[in-house]
Assembly symmetry: D2
Homo-oligomer: 342 residues x 4
């Protein structure tokens, strides 16, 4: 059994990791930490876990994290970079669900995240944990930078087009919509029910931290910089991201077949039949990304629709998928939940 | 492996049965019927099942239902009573998720359901499938009447008090709130999003079909008729029932301890700590009923809060629980999904 | 024109007062204060007011409140009692939308609100601003205690029955459901969208501050103490309260006619036809309370359904109604908005 | 007073027309028709209108429509074209809220709407009722084609850029999100609460009827065809459209100033400060369109955010605005409702 620890378990990615790991046949949860809630039973905060996860939150200092095989950081940005080295030195694999190791260019990271990076050398070592691109690199990694939610949906959507060199990668548009859980479990006026229900809005149009992450990933695939306009929106759903992607075709191609072939060996990417529209609820609670590709009126604009559950494939599920790869398990172990519909 | 058939698979209880049975380790789904959609892949209608349930709907006439070990009716009221006998005669166990066999008094049934019953003798044989009351009778049954959603939440909530004879059973109040999926997947104006979102209302105050079902169950427990005022409400959530129950105490008792003892051997009933309030989302997607018992200001009024997922413990999950009992499996087999929160 | 001031304008009752007063033909808004946001244009925080309310928040110290004819306190509990006397002494009428002056028994108030009262003598003077009971007293008042949201819906629902002495007032049940705006515009985890959407729960079953307020009001009508079980619930709607009230009839009566007569001269109470069910959306954005009275199965239990918009008849609208009475205007002046449906 | 009639009053545009006209100081509602509900009080179907609109639905045959000054068609597509001529001949002004007269090219209309047009000559006469473009033409019109909801939000958003010739109009993208009321008050599975709540999806990517309407409008402004990719989405809100528009700048310009000048005389278009993001709730229940213009990272892509209430500026409110112009009233008469927030 894999001994797993979670640092920072009181947010939505924390409870979601617990939900998934508690049902994982090869994992035992050794510790979950919270400075603030140390001593409180996890199931008191998250009653869905009653009878299933019976350990309490423990203090980060005293938790037996170094005895774990793998430690997940479900913390705010800037925490994992402080603590990762000590765990790595103790032989623990580290999977960071925050952004500390996602951006290779330290200066870019420091600009977007507004702090100095604590261990730039580890950035170089870290592997970006998008298995559909980096599966082989993940296998041998010690430190995984688990991708952001928007970057997962957008990169999986654009990937086949860019790999095939079919589109004008200097003029990409990603119009993305996220459920409110993406903002985390923080006390803030802007994500109150009465502020966000029955309303829809864009935010961060002038710049969002996921932009450099997406650009880095797609540029890596292209082998040259891409230019992307990324507009996130808030939609009144709890979980789910819907990315609507626009690009101009440079070359004719059978797009449906392109996507089906690209993802035929990726268990968690489901290419839908031509002409269909994925709903976010069709992946609710599961690690699947569903994608449909369109070419309206047969013109030169490709429209790709890509949906994920931001807390699963966009966070905790992808982290477990990465753990499965790290420990040489079948990629879908413990991740076979069928989406909840309706 | 148990060969299972589903009659009428295009509603919410149908898709929920599929979700649960597809993950059940001892079941193979042999057939799912729909007159109207025969030939269509199930996963075309319910894309959450893509890659997991790959059979098409089949015509009720040609489906191999008699070769099944068990057949679930996820049909409107009045269908199972037409078809159950033929299946029973062929040795198939039948679990009806509709109301055809729930009410023992045929005249009462015919009054509330507005049709003549097709097989009153089978009513007598049918076992009311609330395992927390009828577990032993279910074991040997051929025909199970799976309880309604409100009746499940209300009966489990009142049960310990009535068994113990602690309350005035001539003056019970059940103020119940249901998610909109309880109304089914039918094209109706009254359950449109724009009619039900951001609004709350009572309905059926003058009389609801679940009233005689609840009254029958509680009267059976009491050994005498009970008097109940039952007011259902519609709340803008997809899944979930919250029953708020009121009764007057006749005798002093340690209510918390009473509830904990009553349900200590019932895997799917979770008695919460004193002073707490269950949320419907704490059981979302799971077969658990969570109950809290209160006595405000130490007075003589008991307030019981009881929550279930109407599509799981209130329908498909309870049906699978009944199947597990019928086939001598552990009651929780295939029903260990952790609720989705948030 | 009436010069109106608002103290504490950054919450939901504040913006709602602005919406109503900005459309009121006899009012000019002289000042709206916020310590924290002084200087910010009101319409920057509340863009629905762009082009309609163009003043900024001003500092409470420097705002010309004493030159107003009326000042509304849309502040947290405990503020109005600090500042009311000075305004009253300056000849300003004061309407407190918080709870400082609602409870006549100072000890009871101090117990439920957990602080010492700053001016018990003003409690005695204050008039409880439920016009349907206290219209005459309101006319000459200097200081109005505007009722709470639950208390408005519950008292209007029970009033005709208690005035007529028809029910057992020692055993009342008020099962109430509130939209999330009732919790205010405060940064709290418990009212985040991802915590409250698609879920339903009770809260405060052991005791809620509106219980003594309701009990005081109904006891005053009865002329003797009433006993009430009050259970509030949170339903995922933005605005709206639905009170479902239960009582036992002692005497036969034509309830429909009783209610229609009782409220025939109350512009803002609408008694619905027999057999109907009011929806909260039928009063969304308006100052109306809609009530339906039922007697299920012709038994002895009366069920009253009472709905209001918690921010209008439950707060800002009722405050404006009280202002209209104070200044001898027609009660409905500026309060004729038609509810928004859908 | 203007005598107004409404044909087809049982849908959402019908009830919204009633809400607005009942509050309009210069209008008396003479008739509202519904074949199916003739005789039923309007307020029985729409209880928000109780006490405010007390007429019943009348049969279309017997209603005194020819005696009206103006008749609104709030009917499905294909009805107004059957009945308009008779009313026009009787001297009645006609405002069609459906699509019968929106598309000038009859062949295009017949292709997208799947029926033969009944009166192509009236198409030529009809004026497209977007006052911000066609105010002068509307003044003298007999027959107004009230714009669609998406077309209103998209055209107002692109208008200044196209008029100024600043963008590449051969590569426009309109990513639009609509509330569910946009689908109308029809009994359909796809718009049930349990199908649309807590989920987000695109639809009609291969082609939507509003595409030719938008293209016609923008091409008219450009004086040459535009090329537009239009992707509509369904978001779980009741009312509201959010259009996110993308275009490539060809020429430098001060976009903020461009928008502010273009709309300085349009009462119902509110250009927000630079850097802001309009929410749909900021226009809920009102006739305002709020627009913000962005240029992310100072690049060549312009992003315009445009929000309206689909039932007001996108339907009934714009129809009343057109009526005000037709009858030489101030454009905002009866349309000054402040949006409901929260």
């Amino acid at each position: 059994m894999i001994k797993a620890g979670i640092v920072g378990g009181t947010g939505y990615t924390g409870v979601e990791l617990l939900r998934l790991l508690a049902q994982h046949p090869e994992v035992v949860i050794s510790a979950i930490t919270s400075r603030k809630e140390a001593g409180m039973a996890v199931s008191e905060m998250f009653p869905n876990l009653r009878g299933r996860v019976d350990i309490p939150f423990s203090d980060p200092q005293s938790a037996p994290l170094k005895e774990c095989d793998v430690v997940f950081f479900a913390t705010p940005n800037g925490i994992a970079m402080q603590q990762a080295r000590e765990l790595l030195d103790a032989g623990v694999r580290v999977i960071d669900l925050a952004a500390d190791f996602r951006i290779k260019d330290v200066a870019v990271w420091e600009k977007w995240y507004g702090m100095q990076h604590a261990c730039p050398d580890l950035i170089a070592e870290a592997v970006y944990g998008l298995p559909e691109i980096n599966r082989e690199k993940i296998k041998g990694a010690r430190l995984i930078a688990n991708p952001g939610c928007y970057p997962t949906a957008v990169q999986l959507g654009f990937l086949p087009l860019i790999e095939a060199g079919l589109i004008d990668a200097d003029n990409l548009v990603a119009d993305c919509k996220s459920g409110v859980s993406g903002a985390g479990r923080k006390a803030e006026v802007s994500t109150l029910f009465a502020e966000t229900a029955d309303s829809f809005k864009a935010y961060g149009v002038s710049g969002h931290r996921h932009l450099p992450e997406i650009a880095q990933g797609l540029s890596g695939v292209r082998g040259a910089p891409v230019e992307l306009t990324f507009v996130p929106h808030l939609t009144p759903i709890i979980r789910g991201i819907h990315a609507t992607l626009y690009a101009r075709l440079k070359t004719e191609a059978d797009l449906q077949s392109l996507y089906e072939k690209r993802y035929q060996d990726d268990y968690f990417v489901d290419v839908l039949p031509a002409g269909t529209h994925p709903e976010t609820r069709s992946v609710r609670g599961s690690n699947v990304c569903r994608i449909a590709v369109h070419r309206p009126q047969g013109g030169n604009t490709v429209v790709v629709l890509s949906v994920i559950d931001n807390l699963v494939k966009g966070a905790a599920g992808q982290a477990v998928q990465n753990m499965n790869i790290l420990f040489d398990l079948s990629e879908s172990t413990g991740l076979q939940q069928i989406p909840l519909l309706p």
